[in-house]
Symmetry: C2
Subunit: 216 residues, 2 copies
DNA sequence: CTCCTTTCGTGGTTATAACAACATAAATTT
DNA sequence: AAATTTATGTTGTTATAACCACGAAAGGAG
């Protein structure tokens, strides 16, 4: 097992090598390698493992009934996925998890983790798990908030305002290009470009690429 | 303290009276009463307590920059709110929590809970916390999925399909009236009514009030 | 530097949803 | 049961965003 990589994952944060070993001995930490585009988890199946991305990256695909694929999320090295499903038994996956590039995934069985005798290490893991889940919660809630407005302008303002608050500045840099920003706000790219242009003309914002200025 | 009510909350699920008492002795479980429409948590403040609804109900309000109020959620008796914020220190609330009717709220300090020595009871609470958070996660993800489509029809189908899967039947009852369904899908009520009518005409669905039939 | 690819903005067209106003039906109150 | 309120459906109008096609700009690779 590659402990140095594992130590830098969100779920094993603040764990020493010995602690990870003790977990491995107690409940096992199987690793699996996947080729690019290989499916790691299929929609419909039930999972009982938290999946940890040791290397490479994974994309979470939503495939609605009529074959409309859309990428919900890219899970990067050190991050985890499927943890919510793993913590709620018997709920079938709504999405696919696919290797976005060659990757190694470590599987952590949650039920076994829970049934472990109390220990400092177990406690750390649970704490980390709560933090991961809570953070994701806040992100999901924020996105819902930002896509609540019926107009593109409203969505953009909602999103940029929050970013401005977070970054504590009216000059903000967002982690998206136009297409990604459009996807995040659930609008069409060119329509977003158009609206951003109008907002600039109206003196609401200024921008260049992914840097924006809110002219309050 | 009203232990019998507390025992039936999601966070204290499966805890005996003695266990709750031990938690109360160790970290305290202050209770506060609120009048209808009294603000329990203000947007902008940071919270460190999980808030437990002992009686009454609480509504989570989003007030965007331009005074557009919208009800994000009603938290009922036995449920908790603000838990995600409480688990991630120093993140300011994006929403208000307001007493929807006279209510009693119990406050559970997460940091204190985490720093408690390991015990069976602490373990139960953490497990419950993970379950609560994970469940909420799945709900939020589902909602994002359902509002991803750009058309009302797509959103309705996405939502109803999942409900059909969950309820394991093509006859489904949803927990919403039209207005609530429209809010959930982020569309306008009358537009939703219109589209539902069209979908019925197109033979896709049948419905009466809040019961639907997917004609696959 | 040139070629190629990707990203971004623009214009025009069309589909769609928001909005407003009203009608009908259902539920609640008295 | 009548009256009031609330929920739902309907119609028409208008604003808006999706969609399509294109061109310009930026970024990378050879």
């Amino acid at each position: 097992m590659n402990y140095s990589s594992l130590r830098h994952t969100s779920i094993f944060e603040c764990c020493a090598k010995a602690e990870i070993e003790s977990i491995e001995n107690a409940i096992g930490l199987p690793v699996k390698r996947y080729k690019k585009d290989e499916i790691i988890l299929h929609a419909g199946e039930c999972v009982e493992n938290i999946c940890i991305v040791l290397s490479g990256s994974v994309r979470i695909d939503s495939n609605d009934i009529r074959g409309n694929r859309s990428i919900l999320k890219i899970v990067k090295r050190g991050e985890v996925f499927a943890e919510a499903y793993a913590c709620i038994p018997d709920v079938p996956l709504m999405v696919d998890a696919v290797a976005n590039e060659p990757c190694e995934i470590v599987f952590l069985n949650v039920a076994k983790l829970f049934s472990l005798p109390e220990s400092e290490t177990k406690n750390k893991l649970l704490k980390n798990l709560v933090a991961i889940s809570s953070k994701k919660n806040l992100h999901l809630s924020a996105r819902i908030l930002h896509t609540a407005s019926k107009t593109i302008r409203g969505r953009v303002l909602s999103y940029l305002s929050q970013e401005a608050t977070k970054q504590n500045s009216r000059f903000i840099t967002i982690p998206f290009n136009r297409q990604q920003m459009a996807d995040y706000l659930s609008v069409e790219r060119s329509a977003l470009s158009k609206e951003l242009g109008k907002m600039k003309a109206d003196g609401l914002i200024d921008y260049h690429k992914s840097t924006f200025k809110l002219t309050l």
